[in-house]
Amino acid sequence: MSQFLQILLSGLATGSIYALVAIGFALVWQAAQTINFAQGEFVMLPAFLVLVGLNYFDLPLWGALLFGLGMSILILGAAFKKLVVEPILPHGGITLVIATIALGILIRESVKEFYSAEGQPYPSVLPSDPINIFGAVVSLQDILNLVLSLGIVVLLTLFLNRTRTGRCMQATAQNPAVAEILGVDVKRMVLYTFLINAALAALASFLITPVYLAKFSNGETLGLIAFIAAIVGGFNQIRGALVGGLLIGVLDNLVATYITAEYRAALPLILLILIILVRPQGILGTPEGRAV
């Protein structure tokens, strides 16, 4: 029981971080009708920005985290939209997809050049000591990761559904032309979407890097798994991305523990094939809907 509880918890904690990244895929899809294949690198980079804050500017941890968050929103949100998405989008979605692949390589190689190919130690923002729950020793870090990630998703959902700006963003996602006629500042709403995506990526980075270690290649795995999570859950729904992320996190750990560790890397791909065959719109996705 203790083992199952720990495995379930670890899976949910990792899965919730995948979900944060997967939500980013869904948001960018809604805002720009494209897939951001640099999303994994968007999660890798903020950790290095925090290290820059710590090691080059001698900031305290909280200051470095704020620095990392701010720079991420600026670079991966505003600058990404202004310098990559806006100039390339008129040339078509596929062009932008290729541009994001190139951007991912650029970010990865730049970090490698600047910070070396070696993994770097990364401070944990959460306590890593285990705690005892009903006789089972489980990781407090996993619990807090899960609570924080789910809290962020709940806040985001509330923001989108309960605030005027959030509803304007949804209207922009569903039909930009009609939204503009109704007086919505479409450009600003699209910008907000990119800024939120960058902030989510940064938060995912701060939570996962203490476990993964800061390494230039972290984005490759994370980006792929989150992409699959978004498809499995439903690419056009935030709650779909959440379900997809949690499902992959939990299944990965359960399969590795109780069935086989050798083929765990294949699990997300198997899940992807099954979903595409059985329910192409994803578990919670809708065939035509484009609501965020």
Binding site: S2, Q3, Q6, I7, S10, G11, T14, K112, S116, A117, E118, G119, Q120, P121, S128, P130, V137, V138, S139, Q141, D142, P210, V211, Y212, L213, K215, S217, N218, T221, D252, N253, A256, T257, A261, E262, R264, A265
Partner: protein
């Protein structure tokens, strides 16, 4: 008059050419993992070599010729490493220093063998010296020599009856795991958990959970550096309380840096370590390395250093640059540290290129590896 002038000019030219040839550098190919999963090991290996080459050149090079090193990055890819060994040999490399990852060495050592080029490797998989390649030489003992040195520690010190093994599923990890399981069987210790993981794996939750449930008295951890660090971090998260014992990598400086407090208490048998500063040569190397690179050297740095110095010592024993004569001389050779101080410890190579020398047991205490015992050469 004219013929005397021509003769004098010819003699002068010949002298100049002779002098130029005497100064012609000895080419060495450093083929190593400078990026990818093997980068922590590879960069240390390279930096150890850089220090050795500087010293060798300061002492007149090899047989009076300066050493010129060309560095090649394998990207931790066996096929690339093979192509780069060929490239180094095409560039007239007298010797190859590298690679470290056993999976790469097994692929690229055939190229050096076909060209009769001596190759010093940092790899520890048992299979490397079992292929009958007379040109490959280790710079540390293989797992089949290192892992058995741990048996007395499990049996007598920890008094373990049941053990678990967590290993990385590559050539290095598989070799160590196979030797460990065979040794435990011989020692009458039951292996109750056999947990493989993948190279560059990031999530060790299920691995640690399996070991925790296995009821093992101690766990043998045999992984590369970053994987070891991630494993230790997860082990701390899940409060894995049994002793974690490794071979070489588990207590390396890079692992301690990455794992932080999670590395505390980890134990390992190491062929050579920069913390063994009771050995004069190691202390001097460590000081020079820290001064040059602003970090503590790992055992890979010392291995690279020893490989470079062995090339000089043995070439000068042979008296010429001849790969085949070098190889012949190496087999069954012992270099005492008193006569060859930069070899650091008395070291011997057998007729397969396997090496033996005294080794150490190390434990991480207060964030630093501390020598807790020595193990005689086997």
């Amino acid at each position: 008059m004219y013929s005397k002038f021509v003769l004098a000019v010819s003699a002068a030219l010949l002298t100049l050419v002779g002098a130029a040839q005497a100064q012609e550098a000895v080419e060495i190919g450093v083929v190593v993992e400078l990026s990818g999963a093997g980068a922590p090991a590879g960069t240390n290996w390279r930096d150890g070599i850089r220090i050795a080459v500087e010293e060798i050149n300061a002492e007149g090079g090899i047989l009076g010729k300066p050493v010129k090193v060309t560095e090649y990055d394998t990207q931790t890819d066996p096929q690339i490493s093979r192509a780069l060994v060929q490239k180094a040999i095409d560039g007239r490399a007298y010797a190859i220093w590298g690679t470290i990852y056993s999976g790469s060495t097994l692929v690229n050592m055939l190229v050096a063998q076909q060209n009769s080029v001596p190759q010093f490797v940092g790899s520890e998989a048992p299979t490397i010296v079992e292929k009958g390649n007379p040109f490959v030489f280790r710079t540390s003992s293989g797992a089949q020599k290192g892992v058995p040195a741990l048996v007395p520690y499990f049996k007598d010190t920890l008094k373990a009856k049941k053990v678990g093994v967590a290993w990385v599923n590559n050539e290095f990890g598989r070799g160590g795991r196979n030797v460990f399981i065979a040794e435990m069987k011989k020692a009458g210790i039951e292996v109750v958990a056999d947990v493989p993981s993948e190279q560059a794996q990031t999530d060790y939750a299920s691995d640690v959970s399996k070991l925790k449930q296995s009821g093992a008295d101690a766990v043998f951890v045999y992984m590369n550096q970053e994987e070891s660090a991630r494993f230790l971090i997860e082990a701390k998260k899940q409060d894995l309380s049994m002793p974690l014992v490794g071979e070489v990598t588990l207590t390396e400086a890079k692992v301690i840096e990455l794992a932080g407090p999670a590395a505390e208490g980890a134990i390992a048998h190491v062929g050579i370590t920069a913390t063994a500063d009771q050995v004069e040569g190691i202390a001097a190397f460590r000081e020079k390395f820290v001064k040059t690179f602003k970090r503590v050297p790992t055992h890979d740095a010392i291995k690279g250093y020893i490989g470079a110095w062995t090339t000089k010592y043995v070439t000068e024993l042979v008296g010429k640059f001849d790969g085949e004569a070098f190889s012949e001389k190496m087999h069954g050779l012992c270099l005492p540290a008193t006569k060859y101080p930069r070899i650091l410890l008395d070291t011997c190579w057998d007729n397969r290129g396997e090496m033996s020398r005294p080794s150490f047991m190390v434990q991480v205490r207060n964030g630093s590896p501390v020598v807790i015992g020595t193990v005689p050469a086997n």
